[in-house]
Protein backbone atom coordinates (compact mmCIF):
# COMPACT_ATOMS: atom_id res chain seq x y z
CA UNK A 1 0.00 0.00 0.00
CA UNK A 2 1.38 3.38 -0.97
CA UNK A 3 1.96 6.01 1.67
CA UNK A 4 -0.91 8.40 1.57
CA UNK A 5 -4.57 7.64 1.17
CA UNK A 6 -6.40 9.52 -1.61
CA UNK A 7 -9.61 11.21 -0.46
CA UNK A 8 -11.74 12.54 -3.31
CA UNK A 9 -14.53 15.01 -2.53
CA UNK A 10 -16.97 15.48 -5.41
CA UNK A 11 -19.55 18.26 -5.21
CA UNK A 12 -19.86 19.35 -8.82
CA UNK A 13 -22.40 18.01 -11.28
CA UNK A 14 -20.39 19.02 -14.33
CA UNK A 15 -19.12 16.39 -16.74
CA UNK A 16 -15.49 17.51 -16.68
CA UNK A 17 -15.25 17.48 -12.89
CA UNK A 18 -17.08 14.18 -12.46
CA UNK A 19 -14.83 12.67 -15.14
CA UNK A 20 -11.61 13.91 -13.54
CA UNK A 21 -12.74 12.76 -10.10
CA UNK A 22 -13.56 9.32 -11.50
CA UNK A 23 -10.17 9.10 -13.21
CA UNK A 24 -8.27 10.01 -10.02
CA UNK A 25 -10.32 7.54 -8.00
CA UNK A 26 -10.06 4.65 -10.46
CA UNK A 27 -6.41 5.01 -11.45
CA UNK A 28 -5.41 5.63 -7.84
CA UNK A 29 -7.31 2.58 -6.64
CA UNK A 30 -5.96 0.21 -9.29
CA UNK A 31 -2.44 1.44 -8.58
CA UNK A 32 -2.64 0.07 -5.06
CA UNK A 33 -3.53 3.25 -3.19
CA UNK A 34 -6.29 3.41 -0.65
CA UNK A 35 -9.07 5.57 -2.10
CA UNK A 36 -12.15 7.00 -0.47
CA UNK A 37 -14.67 9.16 -2.32
CA UNK A 38 -17.27 11.44 -0.76
CA UNK A 39 -20.22 12.35 -2.99
CA UNK A 40 -22.27 15.39 -2.10
CA UNK A 41 -24.15 18.38 -3.52
CA UNK A 42 -24.71 18.25 -7.30
CA UNK A 43 -22.62 15.08 -7.74
CA UNK A 44 -24.89 12.78 -5.77
CA UNK A 45 -28.01 12.77 -7.99
CA UNK A 46 -26.07 10.92 -10.73
CA UNK A 47 -25.73 7.97 -8.36
CA UNK A 48 -29.44 7.62 -7.75
CA UNK A 49 -30.59 4.38 -9.36
CA UNK A 50 -32.42 4.96 -12.60
CA UNK A 51 -31.10 8.48 -13.13
CA UNK A 52 -29.96 8.45 -16.73
CA UNK A 53 -29.56 12.20 -17.15
CA UNK A 54 -26.28 13.31 -18.68
CA UNK A 55 -23.98 15.62 -16.75
CA UNK A 56 -23.76 18.99 -18.52
CA UNK A 57 -20.35 20.07 -19.79
CA UNK A 58 -18.63 23.23 -18.58
CA UNK A 59 -16.62 23.93 -21.69
CA UNK A 60 -15.03 22.75 -24.88
CA UNK A 61 -13.29 19.68 -23.41
CA UNK A 62 -16.52 18.31 -22.04
CA UNK A 63 -18.29 18.93 -25.32
CA UNK A 64 -15.53 17.09 -27.22
CA UNK A 65 -15.41 14.26 -24.69
CA UNK A 66 -19.06 13.54 -25.24
CA UNK A 67 -18.32 12.89 -28.93
CA UNK A 68 -15.47 10.40 -28.25
CA UNK A 69 -15.18 6.99 -26.69
CA UNK A 70 -14.25 8.18 -23.21
CA UNK A 71 -15.12 5.77 -20.39
CA UNK A 72 -18.24 6.98 -18.56
CA UNK A 73 -17.52 8.43 -15.15
CA UNK A 74 -19.97 6.09 -13.47
CA UNK A 75 -18.25 3.09 -15.04
CA UNK A 76 -14.91 4.36 -13.76
CA UNK A 77 -16.23 4.85 -10.22
CA UNK A 78 -17.65 1.33 -10.30
CA UNK A 79 -14.33 -0.04 -11.58
CA UNK A 80 -12.52 1.85 -8.81
CA UNK A 81 -14.60 -0.19 -6.36
CA UNK A 82 -14.52 -3.53 -8.18
CA UNK A 83 -10.94 -3.56 -9.43
CA UNK A 84 -9.25 -1.38 -6.84
CA UNK A 85 -11.30 -1.68 -3.67
CA UNK A 86 -12.09 2.05 -3.47
CA UNK A 87 -14.80 3.07 -1.01
CA UNK A 88 -17.43 5.54 -2.21
CA UNK A 89 -19.53 7.26 0.44
CA UNK A 90 -22.73 9.16 -0.25
CA UNK A 91 -23.14 12.27 1.91
CA UNK A 92 -25.97 11.76 4.37
CA UNK A 93 -26.97 15.42 4.21
CA UNK A 94 -27.29 15.34 0.43
CA UNK A 95 -29.36 12.16 0.69
CA UNK A 96 -31.71 13.84 3.16
CA UNK A 97 -32.16 16.84 0.87
CA UNK A 98 -32.74 14.64 -2.17
CA UNK A 99 -35.08 12.45 -0.16
CA UNK A 100 -33.28 9.29 -1.24
CA UNK A 101 -32.66 6.20 0.88
CA UNK A 102 -29.65 3.88 0.76
CA UNK A 103 -31.42 1.34 -1.44
CA UNK A 104 -32.20 4.11 -3.94
CA UNK A 105 -28.49 4.59 -4.62
CA UNK A 106 -26.19 2.49 -6.80
CA UNK A 107 -25.21 -0.75 -5.09
CA UNK A 108 -21.47 -0.10 -5.24
CA UNK A 109 -21.79 2.84 -2.85
CA UNK A 110 -21.04 2.44 0.84
CA UNK A 111 -23.44 3.39 3.58
CA UNK A 112 -24.30 7.05 4.05
CA UNK A 113 -21.59 8.99 5.79
CA UNK A 114 -21.56 12.37 7.48
CA UNK A 115 -18.86 14.98 7.26
CA UNK A 116 -17.63 14.31 10.76
CA UNK A 117 -16.69 10.74 9.94
CA UNK A 118 -15.31 11.60 6.51
CA UNK A 119 -13.11 14.38 7.91
CA UNK A 120 -11.85 12.03 10.59
CA UNK A 121 -11.03 9.32 8.05
CA UNK A 122 -9.42 11.85 5.71
CA UNK A 123 -7.14 13.50 8.23
CA UNK A 124 -4.12 11.38 7.38
CA UNK A 125 -4.72 11.43 3.61
CA UNK A 126 -4.43 13.75 0.66
CA UNK A 127 -7.68 15.45 -0.27
CA UNK A 128 -8.72 16.10 -3.86
CA UNK A 129 -11.77 18.26 -4.41
CA UNK A 130 -13.86 18.41 -7.58
Amino acid sequence: MSASKICVVVVSGSLERLQMAAMVASVGAVSGQEVMVFLSMNALPYFVKGNTSKAPHEGEMGRLMATKKVPEFKTLFEQAVELGDAKIYPCSMAMDILGVEQDGLENYLQKATGLTKFLHDAQDGQVWTF
Binding site: S26, V27, S31, G32, K69, V70, P71, L76, L83
Partner: protein
Amino acid sequence: MAEKKIVDGRGSFCPGPLMELIVALKSSQIGDVLEVLSTDKGSANDIPEWINKVGHEYISTTEADGVWHITMRKTK
Protein backbone atom coordinates in the same frame (compact mmCIF):
# COMPACT_ATOMS: atom_id res chain seq x y z
CA MET B 1 1.39 -23.12 -19.80
CA ALA B 2 1.71 -19.34 -20.11
CA GLU B 3 -0.59 -17.74 -22.64
CA LYS B 4 -0.41 -14.55 -24.63
CA LYS B 5 -3.56 -12.47 -24.48
CA ILE B 6 -4.48 -9.52 -26.65
CA VAL B 7 -6.38 -6.72 -24.90
CA ASP B 8 -8.04 -4.58 -27.53
CA GLY B 9 -8.38 -1.04 -26.17
CA ARG B 10 -8.41 0.62 -29.59
CA GLY B 11 -10.73 3.59 -29.89
CA SER B 12 -11.00 4.10 -26.13
CA PHE B 13 -9.48 7.04 -24.29
CA CYS B 14 -7.53 7.18 -21.04
CA PRO B 15 -7.98 5.41 -18.69
CA GLY B 16 -10.12 2.97 -20.72
CA PRO B 17 -7.26 0.82 -22.11
CA LEU B 18 -5.65 0.60 -18.64
CA MET B 19 -8.91 -0.54 -17.11
CA GLU B 20 -9.35 -3.15 -19.83
CA LEU B 21 -5.85 -4.42 -19.12
CA ILE B 22 -6.63 -4.72 -15.41
CA VAL B 23 -9.84 -6.62 -16.11
CA ALA B 24 -7.86 -9.03 -18.31
CA LEU B 25 -5.15 -9.41 -15.63
CA LYS B 26 -7.75 -10.55 -13.10
CA SER B 27 -8.50 -13.60 -15.20
CA SER B 28 -4.88 -14.32 -16.12
CA GLN B 29 -2.29 -16.60 -14.56
CA ILE B 30 1.12 -15.60 -13.26
CA GLY B 31 3.54 -15.79 -16.16
CA ASP B 32 0.95 -14.91 -18.81
CA VAL B 33 1.92 -12.26 -21.36
CA LEU B 34 -0.60 -9.56 -22.18
CA GLU B 35 -0.46 -7.17 -25.10
CA VAL B 36 -2.63 -4.05 -24.98
CA LEU B 37 -3.62 -2.40 -28.25
CA SER B 38 -4.32 1.33 -27.89
CA THR B 39 -4.91 4.21 -30.25
CA ASP B 40 -4.65 6.66 -27.36
CA LYS B 41 -1.13 8.02 -27.01
CA GLY B 42 -1.70 9.05 -23.40
CA SER B 43 -2.44 5.44 -22.51
CA ALA B 44 0.70 4.32 -24.34
CA ASN B 45 2.70 6.53 -21.98
CA ASP B 46 0.70 5.81 -18.87
CA ILE B 47 0.27 2.04 -19.01
CA PRO B 48 4.04 1.28 -18.71
CA GLU B 49 4.11 3.63 -15.69
CA TRP B 50 1.33 1.62 -14.13
CA ILE B 51 3.00 -1.73 -14.91
CA ASN B 52 6.22 -0.58 -13.26
CA LYS B 53 4.48 0.99 -10.28
CA VAL B 54 2.40 -2.08 -9.53
CA GLY B 55 5.37 -4.37 -10.10
CA HIS B 56 4.56 -6.50 -13.11
CA GLU B 57 7.20 -7.05 -15.79
CA TYR B 58 7.10 -4.43 -18.52
CA ILE B 59 8.35 -5.88 -21.79
CA SER B 60 7.98 -3.38 -24.62
CA THR B 61 6.00 -0.70 -26.41
CA THR B 62 5.88 -0.49 -30.18
CA GLU B 63 3.78 1.61 -32.53
CA ALA B 64 2.53 0.71 -35.99
CA ASP B 65 -0.06 2.52 -38.09
CA GLY B 66 -1.29 4.61 -35.17
CA VAL B 67 -1.74 1.65 -32.83
CA TRP B 68 0.46 1.21 -29.77
CA HIS B 69 1.25 -2.31 -28.60
CA ILE B 70 2.22 -2.45 -24.93
CA THR B 71 3.42 -5.83 -23.76
CA MET B 72 3.84 -7.07 -20.20
CA ARG B 73 4.07 -10.24 -18.15
CA LYS B 74 1.96 -10.87 -15.07
CA THR B 75 4.31 -11.55 -12.16
CA LYS B 76 1.97 -11.72 -9.17
